[in-house]
């Protein structure tokens, strides 16, 4: 099947199998930030933006991206760089495998709600699983970032 989509700002046309997932398609386009942790729609590692909406790319058919805009972390480096240092400073990540999904969904959260409470952060990021940490480091990192923005 033919699809045309805008991937990280670039318009591309491709031929794909009808049952190819968006996850597999994006990996084939060298978007290696997009990772697969579960394949059961549970972990959030494969988060990308479908137009402006965060979705699980492992659970979307690539063909459904036809005519849409797909953005991965590769396309959001500037927006991510504002806060990833704060998360690293808290020693939040250990293996770091969950990090790209976390960062993508944090961007989605902050676009929707620029000044979230701790509970709102926990609620929005609940679908991003981390097998190494207890989530407190990520929460502290985001909180420190938000506090530092206010004091600027």
């Amino acid at each position: 099947m033919d699809i045309t989509l805008t991937l990280n700002g670039k318009k591309i046309t491709d031929q794909i199998d009808p049952d190819l997932t968006l996850f597999d398609y994006l990996r084939s386009k060298n978007c290696y930030s997009v990772k697969c942790g579960c394949e059961t729609s549970n972990c959030g590692l494969c988060t990308v933006f479908f137009d402006e909406t965060p979705v699980l790319s492992c659970s979307v058919l690539a063909v459904r991206a036809n005519g849409h805009k797909i953005t991965t972390l590769e396309g959001l480096q500037d927006e991510a760089s504002e806060f990833i240092g704060f998360i690293a400073d808290q020693g939040a990540d250990q293996c770091g495998f969950c990090n790209p999904g976390f960062v993508m969904n944090t961007i989605a959260l902050l676009r929707e709600n620029p000044d979230p409470t701790d509970d709102e952060i926990r609620q929005f990021l609940a679908g991003n699983l981390c097998r190494c940490s207890g989530y407190e480091g990520q929460l502290r990192g985001i909180r420190t970032f938000l506090d530092s923005k206010k004091s600027r």
């Binding site: 049952d19 729609s41 058919l61 969904n105 929005f124 609940a126």
Partner: protein
């Protein structure tokens, strides 16, 4: 992951329905549940081009298209004002935001899943399922119907004087619920739904008029105790039948007390 040879974005419901009459073909909603299977289909039928992704409201009802996402339901202000946020409370722990941005109301109601938070809360509202060929049936009736090859087009929630409360117990956020419970008062009539028993949610009323003179701490406790004896519960790796029956009592009592404004 499912596999298939052909993908058709249906241009109208008749085309989707005709294709869906073959056992080798399958309607796709958000695909989250379907993808867990390893079935092979000839054709997957996508309804996403049919304008079924809208929540419409008029003075008498909400009309929710089958392709509306769970996240759109969760964040719809009007529906949540109408249900005192019971709908958003029921949805907020289903996996994560990215998941709920994909899962559809049609796939959710079609599945009639035994663990469904959504089925539980919608049963306590005056909810109807609009089928392409099968007419409009109450959600309670739909929940007990056999799976056929029809298509859900819309879910209709008729407006009444409504107050609704929802709660569930989960071992941890984002896991399947151990028990779900919703209570409502619609035009003065009490409705109580209990799900994740672990079996499909069931709807109960105040048949013995325990709440007829209003909700007090005592009437709520008595009602909950009687209901816990009536609701069939079973055991699985999330909890035993005895534990679930205890939860039926606790959640029903707690929800009734909230409904009565006593907490």
């Amino acid at each position: 992951m499912i596999t298939f040879q052909k993908y058709v974005k249906a241009e109208n419901l008749e085309e989707a329905y005709t294709l869906n009459q073959s056992k080798n073909n399958k309607i796709v909603g958000g695909m989250l549940w379907m993808r867990l299977s390893t079935a092979n289909y000839n054709t997957v039928i996508d309804l996403s081009g049919l304008g079924l992704d809208k929540i419409e409201e008029n003075e008498t009802c909400f009309k929710i298209g089958a392709m509306v996402t769970l996240r759109a339901l969760e964040t719809n202000k009007s529906l949540n004002d109408y249900t005192n946020n019971a709908v958003s409370t029921a949805l907020k722990d289903i996996i994560g935001v990215q998941f709920r941005n994909l899962a559809t109301v049609g796939g959710t109601i079609w599945g009639r899943y035994g663990f469904s938070d959504v089925l539980t809360v919608l049963l306590t509202l005056d909810t109807y399922v609009e089928l392409y060929k099968g007419g409009t049936v109450s959600l309670a009736e739909f929940a007990s119907m056999k799976y056929d090859r029809d298509i859900i087009t819309n879910i209709i929630i008729n407006k009444k004087a409504c107050k609704c409360v929802y709660d569930s117990v989960r071992i941890q956020r984002t896991d399947f619920p151990v028990l779900t419970c919703a209570v409502s008062r619609l035009d003065g009539e009490y409705r109580i739904a209990v799900g994740a028993r672990p079996a499909k949610a069931r709807l109960y009323g105040d048949d013995e008029a325990v709440l007829a003179s209003g909700i007090t701490n005592e009437s709520a406790a008595l009602f909950a105790e009687k209901l816990a004896k009536q609701v069939p519960t079973y055991s699985n790796n999330r909890g035993s039948a005895a534990y679930r029956s205890q939860l039926v009592k606790v959640l029903t009592e707690r929800n009734l007390i909230k409904l009565g404004g006593l907490m």
